[in-house]
């Protein structure tokens, strides 16, 4: 069986109803639903103070490194990346092994425009970087999205490497020395983006995530999301049902790339120094692991997966040089016990359908209920 075939088997099995949390929240009255969502968002913004909460603190704290640093430098960025990659891999079913390339394009655009060749402020660089990443997605996607499965995976793998190696060899991108003195985000009132306090970066990243989630939800629940799902489920059938598969695959690529680029701008603005070795192939694999671990095709899964993959190695710092091993074992265990990921993709049941009653005239047919139960 082909690589991507196996991959699809691993990740596209239907989810059994696991928790039903989403459905239960969906059925709540509007007021309580929204207060719950608000409460959730507030608790996320309070994350830098989580280690001070009794039990939770012991659970999440990262001994040996600053928890604040972990959530700003890694968690927020991985979550954003996982959200973007989930569009490509989870929704449209396109196996992308070079996603780090878009992340690098975003970071490098900020580097070039705010330090290397110009002195634009960070905030101006962000939309430009997102557009440039998106363009990179379109440029990569236009010739390659005619390929399927394994071939696409190989070409994207190459893309990630091309970006890194080109950056390494291009003097105008700083070569292997990279780019330093990249602009930082502007101070907003009491939020001072400096070296001492990581919190403002965290708040900014979290805000980006919330905006991205909001926009992606809209896409998922639209003709676009349906087209992506149809392409993932059966590309030929989708095309024969009138879905312009190439166009929607290209959109998935472009949107995924844009979100990856956005994560890159955040990274560049935080560390303020980038070089090609920040964007190794290993990162692509880790990003993919985040999506698969969290639950391919489920936005909440991608968020959780990104957070876990970013945080776990830091949590296990106590194991010193065995921590990567512990991390690997943890990943394998999750995949053994939850092969569809931590939060598997759910069959979407629209809310209006829950209350829908079949009309009286529905003819009853006495067929065996194959495949149910």
């Amino acid at each position: 069986m082909s690589l991507s075939g196996t991959f699809k088997d691993l990740t596209s099995k239907p989810a059994r109803a696991i928790s039903g949390v989403g459905e239960r929240i969906g059925e709540m009255p509007t007021v309580s639903r929204w207060s719950l969502i608000a409460l959730f968002i507030v608790s996320m913004y309070l994350m830098p103070w989580w280690p001070e909460v009794p039990v939770l603190g012991w659970l999440v704290d990262t001994p040996g490194t600053s928890f604040e640093g972990v959530i700003t430098d890694k968690v927020v960025i991985y979550v954003l990346v996982a959200l973007g990659l989930n569009v490509v891999v989870g929704l449209a079913g396109l196996l992308d092994l070079g996603y780090v390339g878009f992340y690098a394009v975003g970071a490098y655009t900020v580097g070039v425009l705010s330090s290397q060749h110009a002195n634009l402020p960070w905030l101006v660089c962000v939309p430009i970087a997102v557009l440039v990443s998106m363009a990179a997605g379109v440029i990569l996607g236009t010739p390659t999205l005619r390929l399927r499965g394994d071939y696409l995976a190989i070409v994207t793998l190459g893309f990630g490497e091309i970006i890194r190696i080109s950056a390494n060899n291009a003097e105008w991108l700083g070569g292997s020395r990279g780019i330093s003195k990249i602009a930082k985000p502007p101070n907003i009132g009491p939020l001072k983006f400096g070296i001492l306090d990581a919190k403002p970066y965290f708040f900014l990243g979290l805000t980006f995530i919330i905006v991205v989630v909001f926009l992606l939800r809209r896409l998922e629940n639209s003709r676009v999301g349906r087209a992506w799902n149809a392409v993932r489920e059966d590309e030929d059938a989708a095309e024969l049902m009138g879905v312009n598969t190439f166009k929607f695959k290209l959109w998935a690529f472009a949107i995924g790339a844009a979100i990856g680029g956005l994560a890159g701008t955040l990274y560049a603005g935080k560390v303020r120094f980038i070089n090609p070795s920040n964007f190794p192939l290993q990162l692509s694999i880790l990003f993919l692991a985040a999506v698969v671990l969290g639950g391919t095709g489920n936005m909440w899964g991608a968020i959780l997966g990104g957070a876990v993959v970013a945080w776990m190695p830091e949590r296990f710092r106590g194991f010193a040089d065995k921590r990567v091993f512990v991390f690997g074992v943890a990943l394998v265990l999750v995949m053994v016990f939850r092969p569809q990921g931590l939060i598997p993709r759910k069959i979407r049941k629209e809310r209006w359908l829950v209350n829908w009653k079949p009309p009286e005239s529905t003819p009853q047919s006495g067929e065996a209920e194959v495949g149910r139960g």
């Binding site: 596209s12 239907p14 926009l215 809209r218 896409l219 639209s222 003709r223 676009v224 999301g225 349906r226 087209a227 799902n229 149809a230 489920e233 059966d234 030929d236 059938a237 989708a238 095309e239 024969l240 049902m241 009138g242 879905v243 312009n244 598969t245 959109w251 949107i255 993709r345 069959i347 979407r348 049941k349 629209e350 209006w352 359908l353 829950v354 829908w356 079949p358 009309p359 005239s361 529905t362 003819p363 047919s365 067929e367 065996a368 209920e369 194959v370 495949g371 149910r372």
Partner: protein, 258 residues
Amino acid sequence: MADTVLSVDNVTMQFGGVTALSDVTFGIMRGEILGLIGPNGAGKTTCFNVITGVYTATSGAVTFDEQPLAGLKRFQITKRGIARTFQNIRLFPDMTAIENVMVGVDVNHKTSVGGALIGSRRHHREEREGRDKAMELLTFMGIADRAGDAARNLPYGYQRRLEIARALATKPKLLCLDEPAAGFTPAEKQELMDLIRRIRAQGYTVLLIEHDMSLVMGVTDRIVVLDFGKIIATGSPAEVQNNPDVIAAYLGVPDDAA
């Protein structure tokens, strides 16, 4: 013929050295149910695949609504008004029944990424229209009670009918059914025949591939018989039924007669 919806002219389809269709010519009139029959391997599904753009014919032309289909992409052909079902069911298994049908309805919609992101008025209108249309079709097919279930969890007969509902959702001028009764019991086949008649009564033109002779005889207006990629007979069910070539193709020819 003024009111020919689809005409297949001298279509030949070769795969390497194998000729799957050889100089096939037939037409479908608006509003009729045309049966395409033939023994296994006669080229029926290949013929479907040429019409719907899955294959490009080696030679010959397919004309739909007085426009040639050559060079069109598959989804464009569907947009023009040819929809099909598959011999082996090919639904979107992890999507709900209603979503499957909504994908079909979306053919005539225009909302793309921009409209969905800003939640444009057209997006909302099309979503509402999609639901209503899909629900209407599921009700018409008698499977609305399982609208919210994943396609893969539906009983076999429901899946077959869901495929037809999804094809109808694209508002086709020509509906191509590829062995819709495969695996059905006689009672279910009877039900399906009624359904096909009801579909035609709604104004659709139907091209039906079928193996089961009784089904084809009962429901079609005209029949084209294929054997080894060639048309061996065309005519009304009664004519075809008594055609010696057809009988020979289906039942074989005794050794001494050959």
